[in-house]
Symmetry: C2
Amino acid sequence: MANYIEPKVLKGFRDILPQAEMARRGLTEKIEGTFRSFGFVPIDTPALEYADILLGKGGGETEKQIYRFKDNGERDVALRFDLTVPFARFVALHREELTFPFKRYHIGKVWRGENTQRGRYREFTQCDFDIIGSDSPACDFEILLLIRSALQNLGLDITIHVNHRGLFNRFLSHIGQSDKSADVLRAVDKLGKTGEDETLKSLTELTGEGNARKIFEYISAGGNFTETLARITELSGGPSEETERLLLIRQFMIEAANNNSDPFILAPSITRGLDYYTGVVFETFLNELPGIGSICSGGRYDNLAGLYSKSNDSISGVGSSIGLDRLIAALESLGKPPAAAGCAAAIACINPEHSGSYQALAQRLRQEGIPCEVFTDFCGEKQLVKQFIHAEKKGMRYVLIPGGNLSGGMITLRDLPARQNIELSVEDAIGILLDNK
Amino acid sequence: MANYIEPKVLKGFRDILPQAEMARRGLTEKIEGTFRSFGFVPIDTPALEYADILLGKGGGETEKQIYRFKDNGERDVALRFDLTVPFARFVALHREELTFPFKRYHIGKVWRGENTQRGRYREFTQCDFDIIGSDSPACDFEILLLIRSALQNLGLDITIHVNHRGLFNRFLSHIGQSDKSADVLRAVDKLGKTGEDETLKSLTELTGEGNARKIFEYISAGGNFTETLARITELSGGPSEETERLLLIRQFMIEAANNNSDPFILAPSITRGLDYYTGVVFETFLNELPGIGSICSGGRYDNLAGLYSKSNDSISGVGSSIGLDRLIAALESLGKPPAAAGCAAAIACINPEHSGSYQALAQRLRQEGIPCEVFTDFCGEKQLVKQFIHAEKKGMRYVLIPGGNLSGGMITLRDLPARQNIELSVEDAIGILLDNK
């Protein structure tokens, strides 16, 4: 076989087959519907950008994972590895064209040459949403509410852990450890992964045993939102700008509570390891599957576009990101895979020369909003069983079998699961299909 | 500014701003809705593949335009430059998992390092749809009908030019020129671009003056479908498999005619320059803007997955592709840009401390299906004008101004274009917003 090329995909990449792709699109549409209902608008940016823009101050892990190369014009380019950096560049470039506060979402693919051993993909979809150009606590709250709505609209039972990184820093300053802030944040961020003993050990090495115990007291779980807030207010040296903001956000949560569902807890151990968060931070867990980690995280940052901006006006904002692939994997292991709304009916082929009238019949159904496939193979009465099997494989419920004289208006409706044929008018068939949509 | 990086995008790439992105999504959704109504299902494939798979027998223009590089594992990889080659690879790889005939669509980005001078982009969106695993003329017809439906559902006035490449080859054989088939097809394909004189000159060089005149007679325009079919049937040596197929497809067109609209013409000069078409071929033009060329082209091919398949069973099919970017550009120059369905109402901020109850009000609207943005800045009665301007910039019609006591149930509805305030109950406001959706 001189001309044969083995069909395969790159390690860490994958094809999405129709059932899965329909489910993905259904899920994305629902999430997008919630974003739009809050007045968030979509943008898009290129998959490929100048490498120096994507890497920014860069270096480290990112540099190792990025797909970077020289294009045909010898430009140093790379595939985007997240949607945050392109958004920062986007805002700097289009500042004059945007209206602030600007509420945008962006659903798109990103690429990272990550280790694929832990079931990670090298191409995956991110779903980011941010409000930028406002420092209002109402915006912090809106992002939290949007997370709640988007995930509850998918029928998920969630808990959203909220914290304020600035308050944590105030506490560190209060105990004289503010110079170690970044390292302490990183150590605390690993609590969930490495366990209490390991974290306490790291903290002791960093700050000494007494301080490590104080930090542990600060980040310990338990108590409702108000109690925890009172405790960390005291531990951080009394009421402050940060505790006032948390109080206000808590008040908003209560006022906008929906059917008494209150998925919010104050979790002082949530710090988000990344450097750029400065205010409120949050993580979201599935109550039925907390072990998979946060499916939606984010926080408030000070100066999104600073690196790409000559202006001294910083643009602060608050935003979050849903890990779509992790969410879908979670829904599957919960036995709640997103539904794929396929086509429920087909028109059988009795005589291929009548394909024109079969399509005319299909169009009547489509005009009523009934998706409808026209079969073109295994034609003839004697091969109807093959057409039924084909329809069942596609997950359809009905096959319409046109009579010899379609203009007479009578057809046979095959109910596949019931293994029943009913002779009826086209209008009545449409009625049944609409009732069973 | 030691840390400043100039924000810019690569030549041939672009950001999509919210209004444009909403319009793109609206357009794509409509097209996708038509696909789904025909029982076509979506798939997805990786952006990045092994270069040898994408290039196939390859070479030539493609090789020069492709984004190809070595990844971190020293694999020779490339960004996909169309959706056809990945589909062929997909079918070969998943043959056992698919049910044939398989009707799929795929909307995705592709990348080509093309010359950007003629307004071409290096990143653009393709929208492919195919039926594979059936040789039925009913499938040829279904693809034609799907083109008609998808574009007419967008409100476009179109003409679809149909031809049969096999019949053209039969004609060439009839006049003893079949050995020059590929070159003649290419010369004829350029007719629209280079004009009649140039084409006749090329054909004369290829086949001699007498044959060139015969070819010109064959490809000449004019006459209705039936007349033209009779003419080319005779010129190709009488009735054949190919003319029978065209006759049948024409019969289907008449039987499935919708409100007497008949956008189909038989155009013997349409050959589609590419090598892989073997049967019916077609191109689609906008009647109001024919000059921009075909916005949706395709045809029937013999063996889609042959290069990636060890099996001798070839998978034939028929498919087409809509050039989304060209279509959007066309709609814009026709003054019919796709509509961007934004958010029509905002809730004004009077007192930022009431943001919780503003969100609660917004949720009542969202539950009624009314998208609604909550404003968080320029708070207070005195700054309402700023909030009105902000809403107008966003293309909104209404601003809801909550009273001091929201639980009383009365609010003020600002009709921005009318510059009117109406005091009314929340229920009445919802009624007005629903009526004006």
